[in-house]
């Protein structure tokens, strides 16, 4: 049974001061965090260590008594992750408690080498566990940030725009994978229902490569749109992509393809019984007629 915890609680003023001093030397990110904040965070964490329920030991970090400390460390690491600290900068916050505890052990048990060794190794284990937990939480926080960004990118990258009454377009940018196809398909079909569109133009100018998988995804989307009663036109096929498609033996014969978005739009207008003409200026039509004749 280690006596270190009670030693910490007895010397709380000294331990906290020593730790804060070491923190100031170790954490060199004045741009992200001020000394004052650092100090208040340290004292909050220290007060949690200080007030663990009786019977909680430093050896047993898994026990319920340490739960408040874990929660606090997790919150701290996640906020560090979002603020832009590196993993080591985050871990050093906890690790700098180690020399403080060693010094405390030395003060109290320097007479007996055996006691000293026991207390030092307990302190070592404890701080290591804290640091590992902090790093885990930090990575978890980072993962959350990445996942959120991915989600945002997915939503941003699949805008469905209405070109005309009853004609929607979906300009695709970036490589199509299964997850994105799902989002693309859903947002396109949803837009078809919402805008009551009979024509959907999928523009793949921004898709860098089209392989069999991408083509299959496209065909799926087109089939689903057709099942709902809308017609799909693919536009923006670049020469290289046309070559690839033919070389790969992908059958796009049942699909209407156009080279440019404008061609696809013109076709959709035609099919919906509309015609684009130049607006007549005052006497434009009269003047144009003789020239035509």
């Amino acid at each position: 049974m280690s006596k270190l915890l009670s030693a910490i609680q007895q010397n709380r003023e000294w331990v906290l001061q020593d730790w804060v001093q070491r923190l100031r030397q170790a954490v060199r990110r004045r741009d992200l965090i001020s000394d004052r904040e650092l100090e208040s965070e340290a004292s909050e964490i220290f007060s949690v260590i200080d007030s663990v329920p009786a019977g909680t030991t430093l050896e047993d970090f898994g026990s319920a008594g340490w739960q408040p400390l874990k929660e606090m460390l997790a919150a701290l690491s996640i906020s560090r992750a979002t603020a832009g600290f590196t993993p080591s900068e985050t871990a050093i916050f906890v690790l700098s408690l180690k020399p403080t505890l060693f010094a405390l052990a030395r003060q109290n048990w320097s007479k007996d080498a055996n006691d000293l060794f026991v207390e030092v190794s307990v302190a070592n284990d404890f701080v290591d566990k804290l640091a590992l937990y902090t790093t885990d939480s930090y990575i978890h926080g980072r993962d959350q940030v990445i996942a959120r960004q991915q989600e945002e990118m997915l939503e941003l990258s699949t805008p469905v725009v209405t070109l005309w009454d009853g004609i929607v377009a979906l300009p695709l940018i970036g490589t199509l994978d299964s997850a994105r196809t799902q989002v693309v398909m859903e947002s396109l079909l949803q837009a078809i229902v919402q805008t009551n569109s009979r024509f959907a133009i999928i523009d793949i100018t921004g898709v860098p490569t089209v392989d069999t998988l991408v083509a299959q995804h496209l065909l799926k989307t087109i089939t689903a749109a057709r099942l709902m009663g809308a017609e799909c036109i693919i536009s923006g096929i670049r020469p290289q992509i046309a070559q690839t498609i033919v070389h790969l033996g992908i059958n796009l014969e049942d699909v209407i393809t156009k080279a440019k978005l404008s061609d696809a739009f013109r076709l959709a207008l035609e099919r919906s019984g509309r015609k684009v003409t130049r607006a007549d200026k005052a006497n434009g039509s009269v003047a144009a007629a003789p020239r035509g004749v």
Partner: protein, 133 residues
């Protein structure tokens, strides 16, 4: 027994599926519809599945069958109002239902039927006129 009502509108039959389709119901619909087509000599069938939220491969196949059967009986079939989720499910099941005409809603479905079926009617009438003449 549970049945899906089939409404008659002139030359067209209108079927609105409002309940979850199970296999038996789909087969009953297939029977009833083919009978009605011959009975009223319908030229077009409009099936509205906008309230249908769950479709399995059997229902998909039955819809395709109904369309083919109607075709044999000289009636155009148009399926309208398929939900996005249903369309995705059918595609994922590998059922692209190539024989079925689809439309966004009842209105555009009716429009399509009128366009295609009126052509027939006019030619029929023309034929009738010419024989009378």
């Amino acid at each position: 027994m549970e049945r899906i009502p089939i409404l008659r509108m002139g030359n067209y039959l209108l079927v609105t599926i409002q309940v979850d389709m199970h296999d038996k119901l789909a087969l009953t619909l297939q029977d009833d519809l083919t009978n009605r087509i011959t009975e009223v000599n319908a030229k077009g069938v409009l099936i509205d599945i906008s309230s249908l939220e769950i479709v399995d491969s059997f229902i998909g196949r039955t819809l395709a069958n109904i369309a083919s059967m109607a075709k044999v009986l000289d009636a155009e079939t148009v399926v309208v109002g398929m939900q996005p989720a249903v369309a995705i499910t059918l595609v994922e099941l590998g059922m692209s239902l190539p024989g079925i005409r689809t439309a966004l809603n009842v209105e555009s479905g009716m429009e399509y039927l009128r366009e295609t079926v009126t052509g027939h009617e006019e030619s029929d009438e023309d034929d009738g006129d010419s024989t009378e003449d």
